[in-house]
Symmetry: C2
Subunit: 345 residues, 2 copies
C-alpha cells in the first residue's frame, strides 16, 4: 500500500477528556470543529458522547449537521459562527444552537426562528467574535427576553497563563454577565488550566482532547506511519530532491517515503524534522515534495519498510516547533489521503 496510515487512539481521546473533565468544576463539553481538528468529527463526537459529553461546538452550521447526524438527538450542538444568512433551514433541520455574534444575527434569529434555542457570544477584548460591551448593553434586555441557553466568550491569551489579558477578559466577562441567570462559558483548554474561576457553567476543551499544548499532560492521540517506497545508496556530494538543496556529506542510505506536503506535512518543517525507524531518528533530507519525502536511514538497524512521523517520541507540538507553527495547525493540516484507523481496545 502506498498511502500512509494515520491512527487515532480513541482511548487516549477518552482519557484526555476525562482528565480535563476532572479538572473542570462544572460541565465539560467538547470542541469538534474543523472535523474534530482533522481527526473525524463523527467518530470523535460519538466517543466523547459515550464518555458523557453533552455539549459540542462546531464552527459552521454545515459541520453541525454532520455532528448531529453522528450523535442523534440529545446533545446540544453549538455553532460558533452563529446564525449566518440562509442558515435557518440547517439550524432547524439539525436542531443546532447558533451562538449569536452581533445585533444583525440577533435580529435575523428573532425574525426567522424566534422560538429556536440560541446562545450569545460576547467579545471581551479579543475583537474576533461576539458582541462588544456597548452593543450588548443596547440589546441585552431584548436578547434576555428571547431566552438564550448560554452566554459565552473566548480568551485571546489563555495559552500563556501569566498574560494579563486573561484576568482582564475574566473581569469584563463577569461585568457583562452579572446578574443574568443564564449558564455561562468562557474557557477552552487553556482556560480550564487557568483554574476554577475561569470555568463558569460549561468548559469547551478542544486541543487538549487531541493531545496538544497547552495541556502538557495530554496523551498523544495521533500517530502516523509512512511506507517506504525504496532505499538507495547516495555517494558523497550527490544531491537529493528538488533544487538540489541537500548534498550527502558522506555516503548515505536514503529512503523515499510515500507522503508529502499534500498530506499536511508542512514544507516548512522539513529542515528540522526526523522520522523514526523503530527508535532511531532518521532526518529528512532535501525538500519535502507533494507526495514524497527523502529520509536518511543510514543509522537504522535494518532497512525499514515504514517510518513514523508522529509517535510517542515525536508529538504534534514537536512538529509545530519545527515548522514555526502551533500544534493546532499541524493537526488540521493532515489531509484526506491517509488511511485513517481508529484504535480502541
Amino acid at each position: 500500500m502506498g498511502t500512509a496510515t494515520l491512527t487515532i487512539d480513541l482511548n487516549a481521546l477518552r482519557k484526555n477528556w476525562r482528565r480535563l473533565n476532572a479538572m473542570s468544576s462544572t460541565e465539560t463539553g467538547a470542541v469538534v470543529k474543523a472535523d474534530a481538528y482533522g481527526l473525524g468529527a463523527a467518530r470523535v463526537a460519538q466517543t466523547l458522547a459515550d464518555e458523557g459529553a453533552r455539549s459540542f461546538f462546531v464552527a459552521v452550521a454545515e459541520e453541525g449537521a454532520a455532528v448531529r447526524e453522528a450523535l442523534g438527538d440529545g446533545p446540544t450542538v453549538y455553532v460558533f459562527s452563529g446564525h449566518m444568512k440562509d442558515d435557518d433551514s440547517l439550524i432547524a433541520k439539525y436542531n443546532l444552537t447558533p451562538l449569536i455574534n452581533s445585533i444583525d444575527q440577533l435580529l435575523r434569529h428573532a425574525e426567522l426562528m424566534k422560538n429556536h434555542p440560541f446562545g450569545i457570544q460576547l467579545d471581551t477584548g479579543m475583537n474576533r467574535l461576539g458582541m462588544e460591551p456597548s452593543e450588548w448593553q443596547a440589546v441585552r434586555d431584548i436578547a434576555m427576553r428571547l431566552g438564550p441557553q448560554l452566554i459565552m466568550s473566548h480568551l485571546a491569551c489563555a495559552d500563556e497563563p501569566n498574560h494579563p489579558m486573561n484576568g482582564q477578559q475574566l473581569e469584563i466577562f463577569e461585568k457583562m454577565t452579572a446578574a443574568l441567570s443564564v449558564p455561562r462559558s468562557l474557557s477552552a483548554t487553556g482556560g480550564i488550566l487557568l483554574g476554577e474561576e475561569y470555568h463558569f457553567d460549561l468548559t469547551r476543551p478542544g486541543i487538549g482532547l487531541y493531545g496538544g499544548l497547552p495541556f502538557s499532560d495530554a496523551d498523544p492521540v495521533v500517530s502516523i506511519d509512512i511506507p517506504v517506497i525504496q532505499i538507495r545508496d547516495v555517494e558523497t556530494g550527490e544531491s537529493v530532491g528538488y533544487a538540489n538543496s541537500w548534498r550527502a556529506p558522506t555516503p548515505r542510505k536514503i529512503a523515499t517515503v510515500s507522503a508529502g506536503y499534500a498530506d499536511g506535512i508542512l514544507r516548512a518543517m522539513g529542515p528540522k524534522t526526523s522520522l523514526y525507524a523503530d527508535g532511531v531518528k532518521c532526518p529528512i533530507v532535501g525538500r519535502i515534495s507533494m507526495d514524497l519525502i527523502g529520509v536518511d536511514v543510514s543509522e537504522a538497524e535494518q532497512p525499514p519498510s515504514s517510518l513514523a512521523l508522529l509517535n510517542s517520541a515525536q508529538k504534534i507540538d514537536h512538529l509545530a516547533r519545527n515548522a514555526g507553527s502551533i500544534g493546532y495547525e499541524i493537526l488540521t493540516s493532515l489531509g484526506a489521503r491517509y488511511d485513517r484507523r481508529y484504535d480502541e481496545v
Copy 2:
C-alpha cells in the same frame, strides 16, 4: 452560510491544458495526484479526458482507483509510487499501470502480475524515485523482456530554466534509454517550458494545468470567497486576535471572516496577505485562527458580505510568496470544508 466557497474554473483548466498541449511536440498527459492538487481528481480528470488527455498520473494506487472510476475504461492511469506491497489487487481491479521504481518492485511485479502493463521509472540524479544507472544496467534486459509501456524520469530543477542540472539529467536520461524502443517521458510543466528536446513521447503537466508557476501564462483556476460573520469598530490601541499580536494604529473597521488555517490558509501567510472587497485590498490583522480571520475593511467602499482570498488579482503564487512556500503547497493545503463549485460555461 458559514463555509467559504472555492470555485474551480473548468474552462481555465481546459485552456491551460490546451496551451501546454500546443507547446508539447508529443502526447500531453495530466498529473492528477493529490486529488488533482486538491481540486477534485474525478472532475478534473473527466474534464481533461474530454479535452483529449489519454494518460493520467497519480501518486498511489488508491488514487488511481478513484481516477479509474471517474474515467471508465480507456485512458492509462500511471502510478508514480509503482508496485507497492499488497497493491496487486488494486492494480488489477482498476487496471492501473505502476511505474516500477526499484529491482524489488520489478521482481514483485514479475512474480505477481507478469502480463500486466507497467512502466519503468529511472533516477537521473534527483535521488528520489526510480532505478539508478547501475541498477538499471543490471536489470534492463530482464525488464525489457517484460515489455514496459513507458520509461520515465523526473527533473529536479526544471522550475529554474537555467539550472545546469536540467541538461545533466537530460543527458543521463538519453544515455540510460538509448536504443530502447519504448515510449519515454521526462517532463512535467517545467520541462515542457524547457523546449522540445525535453518532451520525448509524453509530457506530464501538473501545476501548470492548475494555474501555477512556472507556467506564468496560466489562467488562474481557483477562486475563494469567504463570508463575513460580523464587522466591528476597533479603537486605537485595541488588539485583535490571539496573543494580542496586532493593535489598531488608528480607529479601524475589522471584519471577522469564516475561514482559517483549517481551510489551508496557512498561518504563515497572515502578516503579508490581504483579502479583497471588490477591488479593494483589505489586510489581514492579527493571527489567522483555525476557522476565523480578522481583516481590516476600513477602506472598503461599503461593508462587505464576503471577501476574496484568491481572485484575478491575487493568485496562488502570491499567497505562496507571502507564506514562504510554493503554489503547489497552497493548492494542496486547501481543505475539505469549502463549498466546492465547478464553473463551466
